[in-house]
């Protein structure tokens, strides 16, 4: 009786946790890409729903201001509009909240021009 009650309790308390891990699966531009023309947006695609919490873009260590409207929204694909970018090597740093409650983060880089 006690065992059955305990088992039922475990199932009940664990029921709300049906969430999947949402790692980053693709970016546009891809990591290491060399582009002839500057992209007009950044695209981050996650395996599941994720909230993008932080995103920064830097060229030679100097941060480039970005439109932050996309932050904190729940989506599998996040599109971030970019200002006009000059030729150079860019580094993107991001942090997001995975659907399973885990914080995930990463970086990727791309080059515009030669």
């Amino acid at each position: 009786m006690i065992l059955r009650t305990m088992l039922l309790l475990v199932l009940l308390v664990m029921a709300p946790a049906a969430k999947a891990h949402s790692p980053l699966v693709a970016t546009m531009p891809a990591d290491g890409a060399v582009l002839a023309a500057a992209p007009d947006s950044l695209q981050l695609t996650f395996k599941g729903i994720a909230r993008l919490a932080r995103l920064s873009l830097a060229r030679d260590g100097a941060d480039i201001p970005l439109d932050m409207d996309h932050l904190m929204q729940k989506a599998t694909q996040h599109n971030v509009p970019l200002p006009a970018l000059a030729d150079g090597r860019y580094k993107v740093r991001w942090r997001a909240l995975s659907a399973d409650g885990h914080v995930i983060k990463g970086t990727f880089a791309f080059t515009v021009g030669n």
């Binding site: 309790l9 475990v10 199932l11 664990m14 946790a17 891990h21 909230r51 399973d100 885990h102």
Partner: protein, 294 residues
């Protein structure tokens, strides 16, 4: 250097320590309570209370620490937006379950270790479930979550016995009553331990396959390498457990006081390895990401 990569696993280590102390002591009381003296029971209740306070401190720290990790700076740990975001995830539910279990353990430590299965069982369930509703264990649905609860229960039975047994070893060198209690408890623990270790290895093995996805990932990813390190540490712990079971406990059983001192040393080594296992597990559940599926 991202300071949260260090802080978050440290908070997790504190949480695991609280869980091991509370659940381990409760299981020890429930499984071996019949052979305990009043002094041992009081010591066990003290461990439950201490573990519960440690656990509560970790619960209070884990939400701000996660918010700080999400934002990537110290200010984010106190930012209401980031804190709310973290509380809205399964971390919020997990913290609530853990807090409920630890608060019960602070109030009812003596009841929890005195064969009162509903109280002790409820506390253990609440705390173990807190680990199963948040994080990587949720990836495989109810199967991995139940496996984790079983795995944590077995870990608590095993590691939770270290401190009470170590106390008995110290007392047994010049107290015949403690030597007798140690011999009886050691015999009983050897029987319980066999089943526990078998369950622990099976549940841990299945969980590893679920989480890494392949044998290759065990050596080709940071997560897999850390998991392999954990397996090596557990193997060391198993070696010492075998030494205790087949050499030292029978020697204590035959009345050898010197064996109690050797068992005490072996238990101290086991506690060190257990701490290393907790450290690796904390990294696995916080800073390291699951391998990408092929």
């Amino acid at each position: 250097m991202d300071i949260w990569v260090l802080i978050l696993p440290l908070v997790r280590v504190i949480l695991y320590t609280g869980m091991m102390l509370v659940n381990g002591s409760i299981f020890y009381g429930l499984l071996l309570g019949a052979q305990m003296t009043a002094g041992s029971k009081a010591h066990l209740a003290g461990l439950v209370r201490a573990g519960a306070l440690v656990g509560l401190a970790a619960v209070a720290l884990q939400v701000p620490a996660s918010a700080g990790y999400l934002g990537g700076d110290v200010a984010s740990a106190f930012d209401p937006l980031y804190l709310q975001l973290m509380l809205e995830t399964t971390l919020g539910w997990s913290s609530l379950l853990a807090a409920a279990g630890f608060i019960m353990a602070v109030w009812l430590p003596r009841l929890a270790v005195k064969y009162h299965i509903p109280t002790g069982g409820l506390i253990c369930l609440l705390i173990a479930s807190a680990f199963a509703v948040h994080g990587h264990a949720t990836t495989g649905g109810m199967v991995t979550r139940l496996l984790l609860v079983i795995h944590l229960a077995c870990v608590a039975v095993w590691l939770g016995a270290f401190l009470p047994l170590h106390r008995l070893c110290r007392l047994a060198t010049d107290d015949p009553v403690a030597l007798l209690e140690l011999a009886q408890t050691g015999r009983r623990f050897a029987q319980v331990g066999s089943i526990t270790v078998a369950l622990l290895l099976v549940s841990g093995g299945i969980l590893a396959v679920f989480l890494t996805g392949s044998v290759t990932a065990m050596v080709a990813t940071d997560y897999g390498l850390a998991l392999s390190g954990k397996v090596i540490l557990v193997s060391g712990l198993l070696g010492l457990a075998a030494l205790n079971r087949y050499r030292l406990v029978p020697a204590v059983d035959s009345g050898e006081r010197a064996a109690a001192a050797r068992l005490s040393l072996s238990l101290r080594l086991e506690m060190l390895i257990a701490l290393a296992i907790i450290l690796v597990t904390s990294l696995l559940t916080t800073s390291l990401d699951l391998p990408m599926p092929p």
